[in-house]
């Protein structure tokens, strides 16, 4: 290792308070990135888990309902990368954990030094710029694409900024004491060594994750198809998607998971290959006898609007997805409040919603669900009459759907 303390004549005593602050922010980053990684990795068992969503991890209850911004971000297509290559992809929090661990390690290392060189703090600034840059990008994604912020992520953003600011202050203080006249080559050598250390500390958790994560068994894809996929009741909504592969999605227009699923499908790019038809499955006791309590109050009325809309169903669905919270709140009060809102936004549907004929169509949609003995949950996706396992419609969607599409394409080639 290049000896960073070799040029003691050019160095100043380290600004300990600043380095302690820097280490504190780096430790906070380790904790937030660790919590986020833990929550993501827990989902590799394909089950549903409560996740941490607190600015002080460990304080306050975990989010088991999926209503928090942390859940929305975790389940969004932006929480991991390379999703088509491995189930769930590589969580972005994992390299973040490595980066913050490295920054903490560097801060403690500097803290124990008798002398501090400017080239040390210069590297620290460069290293701290990475999480800041990533935080800015992810904050923009959260605001513009996901529409919500996760508290744990905000913790990471704050830790990133804190580390960066502390690194700048440490650099200024180190420089103010004494200039560093050391040669350029030795600085590069030192930086290269630290860079390799940093890369190794980022690569380690990623490699361990990839090596130790459970393999996806192809047997999980051998799911039963629909017994009666035909639309004998005329209740399927044809989205006129641009793809060639026939698919049926069972959804509730006011179900947050369906909205997220739709966004994930669009973001994956795989949805473009599908010719999706929707079957409505409102989990609202107003029309659905299979639920004792309305999970998504108001969705019966919105389902009627979708069936009434005909070719404009996509526009109504987009509106329903965008206004889920408002519509569910109205539905929790009374069904008529949802009808009123629908008629206000889509006056052309006023003569159709709430009428016996369309109520009977919603009922037929539910009977299609019964005829196929489907589980009482949404969303569900069937591609070429093969079900995408329910456990794979969130983090595993890209990986599993790409395999389903590939299997189907291979089967067609064999024919």
């Amino acid at each position: 290792m290049p000896n960073a303390e070799g040029g003691q004549r050019e160095a100043a005593a380290p600004p300990r308070k600043t380095l302690i602050v820097l280490a504190g922010f780096a430790l906070a980053g380790v904790v937030f990135a660790g919590v986020s990684s833990y929550d993501f990795i827990a989902h590799l068992d394909r089950q549903v888990h409560a996740i941490t969503c607190s600015i002080v991890p460990g304080i306050g209850p975990k989010d088991a309902s999926g209503a928090s911004g942390c859940h929305a971000v975790l389940m969004s297509p932006y929480s991991s990368v390379l999703r088509e290559l491995t189930w769930g992809g590589i969580p972005i929090a994992l390299p973040a954990l490595g980066v913050f661990a490295f920054l903490l390690f560097r801060a403690i290392d500097l803290l124990w030094r008798k002398r501090l060189l400017r080239r040390e703090t210069q590297f620290m600034i460069a290293a701290a710029a990475l999480p800041v840059l990533t935080s800015i990008i992810y904050a923009i994604i959260s605001a513009t694409q996901i529409g919500t912020f996760c508290k744990v992520c905000v913790g990471i953003y704050v830790a990133s900024l804190g580390v960066f600011a502390a690194a700048i202050v440490a650099h200024v203080r180190a420089g103010a004491a004494e200039a560093d006249p050391s040669g350029k080559s030795s600085s590069l050598g030192l930086w290269a060594f630290y860079f390799v250390e940093g890369v190794a500390l980022v690569a380690l958790p990623v490699l361990l994750y990839l090596v130790l994560k459970p393999a996806y068994a192809d047997s999980l894809l051998r799911t039963s198809g629909l017994r009666h996929p035909e639309d004998k009741y005329g209740v399927m909504l044809d989205t006129r998607g641009g793809g060639q592969v026939p698919a049926i999605e069972v959804l509730d227009p006011l179900c947050p998971a369906c909205k997220s699923f739709s966004e994930r499908l669009a973001a994956s790019g795989l949805g473009e290959q599908l010719q999706v038809k929707y079957v409505l499955f409102p989990l609202d006791k107003e029309c659905n006898w299979m639920v004792n309590e309305s999970l998504h109050a108001g969705s019966c009325a919105v389902s009627e609007a979708l069936l009434c809309a005909g070719e404009r169903a996509n526009a109504v669905l987009s509106w329903a997805f965008a206004n889920q919270d408002d519509l569910r709140a109205r539905g929790g009060g009374s069904q008529s409040a949802v009808y009123a809102r629908i008629k206000q936004v889509f006056p052309e549907l006023a003569g159709c919603v709430g009428q016996p004929a369309v109520r009977a169509r919603v009922n037929k949609s539910l009977r299609w669900i019964v005829a196929n003995s489907l589980p009482v949950l949404t969303p569900q996706l069937f591609v070429r009459n093969q079900k995408v396992p329910d456990e794979d419609t969130d983090l595993g969607l890209d990986f599993v759907l790409s395999r389903v599409l590939a299997q189907g394409a291979a089967a067609e080639v064999r024919r």
């Binding site: 989902h43 459970p214 299979m290 009977a360 003995s373």
Partner: protein, 229 residues
């Protein structure tokens, strides 16, 4: 402590801390996945409703009615006329009507003019509202009657036409491809299971008007049955 050694020790601590944490979390997920594989998910399966009133006795009658009086029962079997209905039910008229007592919230009585099988607007409206409020029910019963005026044969025919009018309206309005499998049609004329005054409290298409025994029986009694057979 030598700076290089301290650096190395700190580095190892960082590597091991991160490595052990990630390895532990990932293996724990893999173990949980292995434990849950092969287990059926704890999610309810969609099914038709089966309400508490669906007693064994009611199901027996239902099965008999649908077998003998259902529209899909076979060639020429287009519902049950009074004698068949009595045989199918194997019970008195009062007991037969009592079977429907739990359906007071689900049933409706579509009333007709005297000696008429023509659905009026109020009757059609109540019929549509009742039929569209199917929920999870599997079977729809249409039990038509006639008041005792006129001959037995005429009333038998009249109640048959009333039942057919109800059925034709449902077919025209709802285009339900399963209608043959879900409707049980009985026409009882004046001979079997006449409705008594207690049914005046039920939903009627002429709720505003008088409710005599004759009014009640110039009718088609309709109800969705929330029973699985």
């Amino acid at each position: 402590m030598n700076a290089d050694r301290r650096h190395m020790i700190l580095g190892l601590v960082a590597f091991f801390s991160v490595g052990i944490s990630v390895a532990t979390w990932t293996r724990a997920a893999a173990v949980r996945l292995a434990e849950t594989q092969g287990k059926a998910p704890e999610v309810a399966t969609a099914s038709a409703s089966d309400m508490g009133y669906c007693t064994g006795e009611l199901k027996v009658i239902l099965r008999r009615v649908l077998t003998s009086c259902g529209l899909a029962a076979g060639p020429g079997s287009r519902g049950c006329q009074p004698l068949q209905a009595r045989q199918v039910a194997s019970m008195s008229g009062g007991d037969f009507n009592a079977l429907f007592a739990p359906l007071s919230e689900r049933a409706a009585i579509i009333e007709f003019d005297k000696d008429s099988a023509e659905l009026d607007a109020a009757g059609a409206d109540l019929l549509e509202r009742t039929f569209s409020d199917r929920r999870g029910a599997s079977y729809f019963f249409v039990v038509s009657r006639a008041s005792p005026e006129g001959s037995v044969e005429h009333n038998r025919d009249l109640s048959h036409r009333r039942g057919s009018a109800v059925l034709d309206h449902i077919r025209a309005k709802f285009q339900d491809p399963d209608i043959e499998q879900e409707v049980g049609l009985l026409w009882l004329g004046e001979e079997f299971a006449q409705l008594d005054q207690q049914f005046c409290q039920w939903r009627r298409s002429r709720a505003e008007g008088e409710c005599t025994s004759a009014d009640l029986n110039r009718s088609s009694f309709i109800a969705w049955i929330d029973c699985r057979l």
